[in-house]
Symmetry: none
Subunit: 400 residues, 2 copies
């Protein structure tokens, strides 16, 4: 649904909506058993809920497209992931809870190893340890560029974030990573007039950094890409008329929710704390986004058993989630992360929606193959929000 | 399918197509039995036909969107309901069989109650009885505005239609209903230059009406909205090469069919007469649209049993419908109207298409859950016409 239409059709109500995102939920069957993680796990609470819900499979971005966390979540929040593209620099900053302002341009940084002739000999500086790169980041913080405030923040291993802050900086700047070795890093180039000051500042920063890091054994060079400003997305409250809260352990997901205009509530304690906070904040919000990471982490590690366990661990919280008494309870995922692939994948993701207005009874359990038979079918993740709004009786009739 | 492409691919044939629209066909399961109206009804003729047809579910407008009758039907007629938006004034006029001309601007009118200070104390004038409002409409007909011909027609209870007729009237005029009480009605404002004459005439009409109705106890004020001219849609014959007839009891559905360029034939006697007229007119048309209202009426009243009966009543006509011998027989709905909700809803609508070229055998019966398993899947209602044309061997190959 076009967001302008969403805004036009949205109407106030007192109903509550919960969206639980199990990161990397979908999986693939093991060849020996022909059962996926969801099919093999003992998730009887989810199975029972699926029997009383509308189920289907969400296509996160498009057929065959493997999404990153950004598009995977934005689609579930109702944003066309082709249209709303969040720059990598912003995602990196959001992922470490850096508060980007409207005058900031963020970039993803990589430490690299430069040979004596100035060419790149290792694009990841031997995956330098996080403690090492944190120390080097401290050194880079001493660099000053006239007229531009500089922030350098460590991320993990060879990755860091650079933020330039000054009025009027454009973000259309080309990356300096040549994407191969044995050639020198590229100079940053402005891709529009507004960004020429940014490119100059970036090149000045790189020159100072290369000078300063000359004595480092591994990480003696830097490469920057994904220059981006904090995007101004249509905000959740404005589009859907929902006061929305995000409850997530990891900053990346709180950050993505903040992009959409949700209030991010940190819940370091995990699901138990997340559910308790929903209970505490029940009257203050209409929409609650809960993020569960363990399914994706196990999938990324290629650990089928641990992904099963993560599902079972979540399953134990399902009765408490139901007891919250939301008018619409949705459980889905931002993408699949099959243990078999040890990576994100393009496969559609099991999804269930429970409300008083459901065509229930299609699925016997909550898993990939059962969801194919569901009354929601296979559908774009970007349609989740309109469906939720409809089931919450928060959308007006279209046309007379 | 884009209508230009439809026109390009359409080819002549002697085949016949019947589209039966059961208004508000889709439903929801009762919580006690987990069976919907269609699942609970004894509709053995429809069930048998579904077994020999391609079945699926149509999404009338978009996921989560509850359509009015206008978009619900236009989509089935092949018009993208986002693109072809029929103004409310036109729909009201069409719904009472008022023949709108090309120079007419129609508006939906509401009688309201005004307090002595001129503010709205009841936006529906206590839902004044139809006989009362018909009497008051007679009074309003005496108002004359220089240079503009005025028509006032009663609809039902507090609703009426105002039509202004004059060359060059624009229809971009803001509504006068403030959408809340305890404030005065708004003045009509022209939203473009062409509509300034319309706004002036509307305001003059309102001033005279308010003066005239001063002595009415309930309906002493009026509010107008949904100003619209009769839209010029691409016509059925031109787009699809089909001579099309509409057979409907209610003027609203004849009117919607006329918008598409169909010839509307009144059939006050209902299905028996509708089928007889198809028989009589067989050689004169290629496409027959039959409208059946009782399913929606029962659903709107929240009467599960009566909706079952309406389905059963329709089911009895299915043998006669089949006997007509159309090359393509389709049975579907413009939207769902679950008795459980006593209102239109967004849920996809069961649909069947019977022809000599069907992948049949997916569904055991004609109902919501069975249609999920059908060979048509869940698909946009706007795709019904291209499918019908294909099964009627009336679409050329695309590309070499």
């Amino acid at each position: 649904m076009d967001l302008e239409l969403a805004k036009r059709l949205s109407q106030p109500n007192t109903t509550k909506i919960i969206l639980c995102v199990l990161d990397g939920l979908g999986g693939l069957p093991r060849h020996e058993t022909l059962r996926s993680e969801m099919e093999a796990a003992q998730i009887t609470n989810l199975d029972r809920l699926a029997q009383r819900s509308e189920v289907g499979l969400t296509v996160p971005v498009g057929p065959g497209i493997t999404p990153g966390s950004g598009p995977g979540h934005l689609a579930l929040f109702g944003y066309d992931p082709y249209k709303f593209d969040i720059g990598r620099g912003v995602l990196e900053a959001v992922g470490i809870d850096f508060e980007l302002g409207p005058d900031d341009v963020a970039a993803r940084g990589n430490f690299c190893t430069l040979a004596t002739d100035g060419t790149v000999s290792d694009r990841r500086a031997g995956r330098v340890a996080t403690e090492e790169s944190t120390r080097i980041v401290e050194r880079l913080r001493t660099i000053s560029i006239p007229g531009v405030e500089i922030f350098v923040e460590p991320v993990r291993e060879h990755r860091f974030v650079l933020v330039l802050r000054a009025k009027g900086l454009g973000d259309r700047v080309s990356g300096t990573d040549p994407q191969k070795e044995d050639v020198p890093p590229l100079a940053a180039r402005a891709l529009d007039e507004e960004s020429s000051g940014t490119a100059d500042a970036v090149n000045a920063f790189i020159t100072s950094a290369t000078e300063m890091l000359r004595d480092e054994p591994q990480a003696n060079g830097i490469m920057l890409r994904g220059f981006a400003k904090y995007p101004t997305l249509p905000q959740f409250t404005d589009t859907w008329g929902l006061r929305a809260a995000a409850l997530a352990v990891y900053p990346m997901y709180r950050g993505l929710a903040k992009l959409a205009g949700m209030t991010a509530l940190a819940c370091p304690g995990g699901m138990e704390e997340q559910i308790q906070r929903v209970r505490d904040e029940w009257d203050n919000y209409d929409f609650f986004f809960l993020h569960y990471k363990k399914t994706d982490a196990a999938g990324e590690d290629g650990d089928f058993e641990r992904k099963m366990q993560a599902l079972q661990e979540f399953d134990a919280y399902v009765p408490a989630l139901i007891e919250l008494g939301a008018d619409v309870l949705m459980i889905g995922g931002d993408h699949s992360t099959p243990a078999l692939m040890a990576a994100h994948s393009w496969h559609p993701v099991p999804f269930l929606l429970h409300s008083s207005y459901c065509r229930e009874g299609n699925a016997r359990s909550f898993a990939e193959q059962e969801c194919v038979r569901g009354s929601l079918g296979i559908f774009p993740a970007v349609d989740v929000m309109p469906l939720a709004m409809a089931h919450a009786m928060r959308l007006e009739k279209y046309g007379a």
